[in-house]
Amino acid sequence: MKTDQLIRALAADREPAGPKPGLALALAGAAGFALSALLFIWLVPMRPHLGEAMRTFPFALKPVEMGILVVASAAMVLRLAKPGAPVLGALTIAALVPAIMVAAAAIELMLVPRAEWLVRLAGTHWYICVLNMVLLSLPILAALLFGLRYGAPTRPALAGAGAGLLSGAVAASLYIAHCPDDSPLFVGAWFTLAIAIATAIGALAGSRLLRW
């Protein structure tokens, strides 16, 4: 088939195009989120006295940080689904979050005696925290990767990484309702590790599943 002939066939194909990538991602993401939320309710108990804790400053940092990360990485994923859309702006906003984390941890190091540092860092059970957050991110990640297939990600590994980042940030946001540790040292280390693992899984999966 020559190119002119191919073009004739393409123009004759009037089957509707697929859903817009934004719609596909929103629907898939909502389904993944519902699954993760159910998993969260089934897996871990809510933090006792959550309402009281919410009014303390170190606690309040967590939803702010995760909120910024969710919004910025969602914008990033949406852009990575479309060829030629710039992602640098969203990436810059996402980079605010590690900056806030580092600043908060530095302040904590100044306020807390040296002997307390390791206790704060380890928290009640850091490894369970990391494991649970990664686990909670997986349904969302799978759903977002499925949604991305309706897009045209020209950088599959990066698009997968963005989906991993978003799923990790959403999972961490859910986990805030359970996690008894508010120390910025704890959040900076273990929330970051969990989200980084989700991002790496996303990048690996993206480079394999998102080719088109």
Binding site: M1, K2, T3, D4, Q5, L6, I7, R8, A9, L10, A11, A12, D13, R14, E15, A17, G18, P19, K20, P21, A81, K82, P83, G84, A85, Y150, G151, A152, T154, R211, W212
Partner: protein, 182 residues
Amino acid sequence: MSDRETQWSGLMRAASHGDSAAYERCLREIAHGLRPLVRRGLLRTGVNPAETEDVVQDILIAVHLKRQTWDETRPIGPWIAGIARYKIIDAARRRGGRTDLPIDDFADILPDEAQPETASERDVVRSLEALPPGQRKVVQAIAVEGVSIAAAARSLDMTEGAVRVALHRGLAALAKRHRDES
């Protein structure tokens, strides 16, 4: 804004509102505009430039199947350049060439670039052999023989709806061809 940007995005918008003549013209213009760019990209990644037309066809199919990912409020140039770059790198990866094509090479996608095409290049024939017989007959009739959907339905003794579906699936299968090979 360059002339070509205005022209391509105008045609593509008309196409999305159902103007298939505008769409056909748009795809022809895109093929014409991309050919020299693809050739250059292939040379740079170490792939035989004789593959140019094959990659141009890949890009056209991708533009068609992924047209919903173009946001009509944004310029179309970077969108097409993104698809073209992806398909060139994809071709290079499959053929063991370099895959680190710098993005700047595509910054100049829009300026008009006249370059004579040789007839043999444009006569590259994409094989339909790999398609299942039903899809192959429909694509053959509409693409190669140039008949309408209605005429294809009559001569193949199918409903028009079935012809439409077979055409769409056949084109999607042509896009998948490479992925199954690699």
